[in-house]
C-alpha cells in the first residue's frame, strides 16, 4: 500500500488554474523530487499537501486513510484538520524559524504544546535531532546568530521532531548562498539514506538526480513527466522536459 496517494488535485487562484489535476503515489521510504520552472505549480502542490492552501478538487490519502477530500473538507473541525496535516512536515524556502526562541526551543516548542511526551523526553529527543543536523554547539543560540544553512538545518530538525510520515521540502536551498547549499543537501541526503519518505521541490538537478527514487517534472499545472531519475533525466519523453533540462544544463555551464 502506498504511503501517499494523491488523486486529481486541482487548484486555481482567481482565473488562473495553477494545478490542473495532479495524481501520483509514493511508497514508504521513497524520495520524490518535483522539478519544473517557476510558476509550474510545484510549490502550490506542496502547500496543498500541507493544507496551507485548500485544493479545489481532489483527494489525498495517507496510509490508506483519506485525510483530504475537497467535498467534505469544509465540514472538518479545526482539530481534525490539524491532526490530518501532522502526517506531513514542511521545510520552507525561507526557514521561518521563530526568532525569539533558541535553537533548542524552536524544536521543542511544538512537541511540548502538542504534549508529545514529558519535557525531559522532548528535550532529549530535540538534542538528538540537533546533533544529527550537526549543530550541537549551537543549541542555545538564537536564529539571528546562525547562517542561512544552519538555520535551514534547524528547520529540518524542527520538522522531524513531530515525526511526520512524509517530510516535504519547498526549495530548501533556494534562499541560500551557493557555498551553503551543500550542508543542507547533505542532511537531506542522510535522511534519504535512512529510508525516510520525502518530497523535495528543488532546482538542484544534480541533487534530484542522485537522491530521488522518483522524479516528477511539472509544467503549466500538470505532471508532464514522471519516472525514475534515469527515465526523466537521461531519457525524457516529453519535449517540454527536454527543453527544460537543456536550459538547466546551459545555465550551469555558463
Amino acid at each position: 500500500m502506498p504511503v501517499l496517494e494523491v488523486k486529481n488535485i486541482k487548484k486555481s487562484f482567481g482565473k488562473t488554474d495553477v494545478l490542473k489535476g495532479i495524481s501520483f503515489s509514493l511508497e514508504k521510504g521513497e524520495v520524490l523530487s518535483i522539478i519544473g520552472s517557476s510558476g509550474s505549480g510545484k510549490t502550490t502542490l506542496l502547500r496543498c499537501l500541507n493544507f496551507l492552501e485548500t485544493a479545489d478538487e481532489g483527494t489525498i490519502c495517507v496510509n490508506g486513510k483519506e485525510i483530504f477530500d475537497s467535498v467534505s473538507h469544509k465540514n472538518l473541525t479545526e482539530n481534525e484538520i490539524r491532526d490530518n496535516r501532522l502526517h506531513f512536515g514542511l521545510v520552507f524556502q525561507s526557514f521561518n524559524l521563530f526568532p525569539q526562541y533558541s535553537v533548542l526551543k524552536n524544536i521543542t516548542l511544538a512537541p511540548t504544546l502538542l504534549k508529545r511526551g514529558t519535557p525531559e523526553e522532548i528535550e532529549e529527543e530535540a538534542k538528538g535531532l540537533i546533533e544529527r543536523v550537526g549543530l550541537s554547539d549551537k543549541t542555545e543560540n538564537y536564529p539571528c546568530q546562525l547562517s542561512g544553512g544552519q538555520q535551514q538545518r534547524v528547520a529540518i530538525a524542527r520538522a522531524l521532531a513531530l515525526k511526520p510520515d512524509i517530510l516535504c521540502f519547498d526549495e530548501p536551498t533556494s534562499a541560500l548562498d551557493p557555498e551553503l547549499t551543500g550542508e543542507v543537501l547533505r542532511v537531506v541526503r542522510d535522511l534519504a539514506n535512512e529510508n525516510r519518505t520525502m518530497i523535495v521541490v528543488t532546482h538542484e538537478m544534480e541533487f534530484a538526480k542522485s537522491v530521488s527514487d522518483k522524479v516528477i517534472f511539472m509544467a503549466d499545472g500538470v505532471i508532464e513527466e514522471y519516472g525514475t531519475p534515469q527515465e526523466v533525466f537521461l531519457n525524457p519523453k516529453s519535449p517540454k522536459t527536454r527543453s527544460f533540462l537543456k536550459k538547466d544544463i546551459e545555465t550551469n555551464a555558463e
Partner: protein, 214 residues
C-alpha cells in the same frame, strides 16, 4: 506660601494625573487589542464599523470627548455624571484604545506570513500561534511607537482639568488665582521627572528584547 507647601499641594494633584495614567493604560491596552482584532476581522461589516469608530475617535479632540462623556449623560439621559474622575477615565480609555489599536494592528500585520505558516504546519492552534509565536515579535516591534503614545498620555492627563478633575494644573491654577504664578511653571518638573522615568523604562524594555531580530 512656602516652597514645601506648594510642592505637596502639586504632588497631591499629580497623584490624580498618575491615577488617570495608570488606569487608562490598564484598560486601554486590552481594549486596544480587541479593537485591533475587530478592524482586522474578515467579517467586513465588523471591520468597517470598527474603522468608522476609530476614525471618529481619532478625528475629534480628546478635550471634546471629555466634554461629551461628562455632559451628555446628564443633558440627554437625565443621569448626570457625578464622578468627574470616572468621566475622564472613560474618555481617556476610549481615546487611547483607538490609538493603541492602530499600533497593534500595524505590529501584527508586519509579522511575516511564514511565521503563521510555520506554526500551522507544526499543528499549533490559532491561539497558540498568536500567544507563543506572534505576540512577543509584535511587542518588540511596537515598543517605540507605544512609548511615544504612552509619553503623550502622561501629559494628556492634564486635559482632565477641563472637567474640573483636581489634577496638577488645576492645583497650580488655584495658586495663580491668589497671585502666585510660579507654581504653574513648577508643574513642568513633575511631568519631566515622570516622563524621564518612562523613557528609561522603555529603553530597558527595548534592550531586553534586543536579543533577537524580528
Amino acid at each position: 506660601m512656602s516652597f514645601q507647601q506648594v510642592t505637596l499641594s502639586l504632588a497631591a494633584g499629580f497623584l490624580e494625573n498618575c491615577r488617570l495614567f495608570f488606569e487608562t493604560l490598564l484598560f486601554s491596552i486590552p481594549l486596544g487589542l480587541i479593537i485591533s482584532f475587530g478592524s482586522m476581522s474578515k467579517f467586513k461589516p465588523l471591520s468597517y464599523l470598527v474603522k468608522v469608530f476609530v476614525w471618529c475617535i481619532r478625528g475629534t479632540p480628546l478635550m471634546l470627548q471629555l466634554f461629551v462623556v461628562f455632559y451628555v449623560p446628564g443633558l440627554v439621559f437625565g443621569v448626570p455624571m457625578r464622578d468627574r474622575m470616572m468621566a475622564a477615565l472613560i474618555a481617556f480609555v476610549i481615546n487611547y484604545s483607538c490609538y493603541f489599536s492602530e499600533i497593534f494592528r500595524g505590529g501584527i500585520e508586519s509579522i511575516p506570513k511564514g511565521q503563521y505558516e510555520a506554526g500551522q504546519v507544526l499543528g499549533l492552534t490559532k491561539s497558540q500561534i498568536f500567544f507563543k509565536i506572534i505576540l512577543l515579535q509584535v511587542t518588540k516591534r511596537i515598543v517605540p511607537p507605544m512609548s511615544n503614545e504612552i509619553i503623550t498620555l502622561v501629559k494628556d492627563t492634564s486635559l482632565a482639568r477641563v472637567i474640573a478633575v483636581g489634577e496638577i494644573l488645576l492645583a497650580a491654577e488655584r495658586f495663580a488665582g491668589k497671585g502666585i504664578i510660579w507654581p504653574l511653571f513648577y508643574t513642568g518638573a513633575y511631568f519631566l521627572i515622570f516622563c524621564g522615568g518612562l523613557t528609561l523604562l522603555f529603553g530597558f524594555i527595548e534592550k531586553k528584547l534586543s536579543y533577537f531580530k524580528a
